[in-house]
């Protein structure tokens, strides 16, 4: 360990951007289910997440205030009528990450809303999870999300997962002006009032995407979950720069025209780590001796565990997120408020792009809660999510190099990701071209009876989902000149992905410099917690 005197603060404490100097401490970096401790070259720009915003002091009071003072709609109590048919649509387990400590904010919202509905004489209430083509949540996950009391009262007949493949469970609404099909869960479509219970983890969530995607089906989703739309989206996180958002907006406006939807959106801060691991959110310059010891102990222990056990250990620690805002009412004005709070938490302004950008890839993704971050999900985290954590201008220059830190192991979860296995082993050896994959194989996977069955009756992602994961990385793939996965434990996964591999981060930086030139600029997005860049 370095002498303490060299660990003096060589940075502006207020800034979330630190330029690495000779005496800078090594960085604590996520590496799948483990951590790396790496020295970075002098001059490397390290972009840290903002500190967590203060949460609202009383979440339920904030919820009550929001539903009594909604944006662009009457207060909720004025919309509730005795004998009406009410459906609460709820965001699924893909957000937030990791799952938050109980009570989940969705539980808090439902406790307020269901009490109000009961007082208003509304008995016909269903709770539908907006899982779209995501896997069905398990009973235990459903119980955790809404609490025992609501679970006991509603599960299973009135609290269930949306089924996008139920031939009798989907209603087609009028197409959009662009010819996009608009399909909605039948119970939702036949309700007098829909209350959408949202958790806004990143700016991509919420708004028109909630209803437009969450309770829809493949026929509708394919109009925007495709390579063309993705290529036309400069960032998924910035509505103005996202063709994906615009398509969802057209679909969502159609839904709003036909159905009465009252949105309750919530924004969270980025307090991702609880007391035992809260040092992970700090700049390494701010680590105490205790933090350094804890980090070393954790890194050592995780490195000695079987991977499945390390995953269990890491997943067992829920995130103590605070609710920073609750906004209710019509889709657009409520979501606009949410976006403002979300950006305030996540956005760090930075000067200019970099030639080389390093993304540490953690153990979790929206699609692998209680599961394995398989190679396609590593891809979507690096080239999809992290690459898009910007407001329209990516952190890496066109033709630059992305370095991902992950073991890139060849492991899949056959219960959650069965079609991913076939996609990875059968399709990727043939082509990595998204357009060709879409044209030649997407429909086949989407309609494969085995995958449909596993989606409907098991806990599997829909057969088409690996295609969406691949498309999600399309922007990143088109933009960067090279991807290097540092610390990959095999050759074939990076080879199938079209990536280079190195044993260490140092070698990866050397290779990237060989590609971009010795004077290449380097940035590290020191994630997690979540951070978004606003490149000036």
């Amino acid at each position: 360990m370095r002498p303490f005197k060299t660990l003096q603060k060589l940075y502006d404490e207020e800034s979330q951007v630190v330029i690495t100097e000779k005496g800078s401490p090594p960085r604590a970096l996520f590496y799948g289910e483990g951590f790396l401790q790496e020295d970075l070259p002098v001059g490397t720009r390290v972009i840290f997440p903002r500190p967590p915003l203060a949460g609202v002091p009383n979440v339920k009071a904030a919820i009550r205030w929001a539903i009594n003072h909604p944006e662009g709609m009457e207060p909720l109590h004025a919309l509730l009528k005795p004998g009406m048919r009410l459906t609460c649509v709820i965001d699924d387990i893909s957000v937030p990450l990791p799952p938050m400590v109980t009570p989940d904010v969705r539980q808090s919202i439902l406790e307020v809303v269901l009490e109000l509905a009961a007082d208003s004489g509304v008995d016909d209430i269903h709770l539908v999870i907006a899982n779209a083509l995501h896997r069905r949540m398990t009973e235990a996950e459903m119980r955790r999300m809404v609490g025992q009391k609501i679970y006991d009262a509603f599960y299973p007949d009135r609290y269930y997962n949306h089924d996008a493949e139920d031939p009798d469970g989907i209603v087609a609404l009028e197409r959009t002006s662009h010819g996009e099909e608009v399909s909605v869960n039948r119970r939702v479509a036949e309700s007098d009032l829909i209350i959408y219970v949202n958790v806004n983890f990143v700016p991509m969530n919420g708004g028109h995407k909630s209803m437009g995607t969450g309770v829809s089906n493949y026929a509708s989703l394919r109009h925007h979950h495709n390579p063309k739309t993705i290529r036309e989206s400069d960032s998924y996180m910035e509505p103005k720069a996202s063709a994906l958002y615009r398509s969802n907006e057209r679909i969502g406006k159609n839904i709003d025209k036909h159905l009465k939807v009252f949105h309750i959106e919530t924004s969270l801060n980025n307090r991702m780590f609880g007391a035992p691991t809260d040092f992970l959110a700090k700049k390494e310059e701010d680590y105490t001796e205790g933090d350094r010891l804890k980090f070393q102990a954790m890194r050592y222990a995780l490195s000695k565990m079987p991977r499945a056990m390390a995953r269990k250990v890491l997943s067992a620690v829920p995130a103590p997120y605070d609710v920073t805002g609750v906004y209710a009412g019509a889709t657009e004005p409520a979501h606009q408020k949410t976006l403002e709070t979300s950006w305030k938490q996540y956005v760090v302004p930075v000067e200019g792009q970099s030639d080389i950008v390093i993304f540490p890839i953690p153990f979790i993704s929206p699609y692998s809660v209680n599961s394995i971050l398989n190679p396609l999900l590593v891809q979507v985290m690096g080239l999809g999510y992290f690459y898009n954590l910007n407001r329209g201008v990516p952190l890496v220059k066109k033709g630059g190099v992305l370095i991902l830190l992950h073991p890139a192991y060849d492991e899949f979860d056959p219960e959650h990701h069965p079609s991913y296995i076939e996609f990875f082993n059968r399709l990727l050896p043939e082509t990595r071209d998204s357009m060709k994959l879409e044209h030649k194989y997407e429909k086949e996977f989407a309609e494969n009876p085995s995958y449909v069955h596993l989606y409907r009756k098991g806990n599997a992602y829909h057969g088409v989902h690996p295609f969406y994961m691949w498309y999600w990385g399309e922007n990143g793939r088109q933009h960067v000149g090279k991807v290097i996965v540092a610390g990959a434990e095999n050759n074939h996964v990076p080879a199938l992905m079209g990536w280079d591999r190195t044993d260490t981060l140092t070698e990866a930086i050397e290779e990237a410099r060989g590609f971009m030139g010795r004077s290449a600029t380097i940035s590290l997005l020191r994630i997690a917690p979540t951070v978004m860049v606003d490149v000036k």
């Binding site: 493949e165 076939e422 086949e444 309609e447 494969n448 009876p449 085995s450 069955h453 009756k457 098991g458």
Partner: protein, 221 residues
């Protein structure tokens, strides 16, 4: 898109029975008190033998087993097929079997049962499930009585694969686009010959094969 089919094994895949149950039903409905007693007794005595043979070799099992039909009248067999379906097969159907078959049809597949059972025993089930076609064993009848011999080739093991291949050629189906569903490692050939195999409630050997070849595994309930 080329025409395709979904080939479903029946015993253990769509229903929780095997041919022993079917035969036992016929034995119990022999038509005379002595006949019932005789056949039930001999079936009961043979059950452990059936079990061992089924595990070791399905082909030998089937050939051995069908000898027990010898002497039963064609009329009788066909007449009680519907009763047998209602009493034995229908209660044993997995609840999700119909969903899976419907989904196969929605995805554009012709639905075909491929079974080592005898065709007359499977017809009511085929009608109930609404399948399009059936590849099954055919009993030889002489003078209206079953001989206990099956008209070759016996549909089992590797022959199921041959039968599926021949069926695809005859019907103009793209074999590599076809789906296959079975529960048993004895149907490995049938699963290997189609482009989209799936193990359904697989035995230990098939589960291991399915994991090795990355075939989807369904647990029908």
């Amino acid at each position: 898109m080329p025409a395709k089919a979904a080939f479903f094994d029946v015993d253990g895949t769509l229903v929780k029975t095997n041919v022993v149950h079917v035969y036992a039903y016929y034995a119990m409905n022999r038509g005379s008190v002595l006949g019932i007693a005789g056949r039930t007794l001999s079936t009961a005595v043979s059950v452990p033998l059936f079990g061992v043979m089924d595990v070791l070799d399905r082909k030998t099992f089937n050939e051995f087993f069908y000898r027990y039909y010898a002497g039963l009248s064609e009329d009788r067999l066909v007449t009680i097929a519907q009763d047998m379906f209602e009493d034995v097969l229908q209660p044993a159907l997995f609840e999700q079997s119909q969903d899976l078959i419907d989904q196969a049809r929605r995805s554009g597949c012709k639905v075909v049962l491929v079974t080592g059972a005898l065709d007359f025993t499977m017809r009511p089930l085929a009608r109930h499930l609404g399948v399009d076609d059936m590849i099954a064993n055919k009993m030889q009848f002489v003078g209206g009585k079953a001989t206990g011999k099956v008209i070759p080739p016996i549909i089992e093991g590797a022959n199921k694969a041959n039968a599926i291949r021949a069926y695809c050629v005859k019907e103009g189906l793209a074999l590599d686009q076809c789906h296959g569903y079975s529960d048993s490692a004895s149907d490995y050939a049938m699963l290997a010959v189609v482009g989209r195999p799936t193990a359904v409630n697989p035995d230990m050997r098939l589960r291991s094969i399915a994991r090795a070849y990355n075939w989807p595994i369904l647990d029908l309930k």
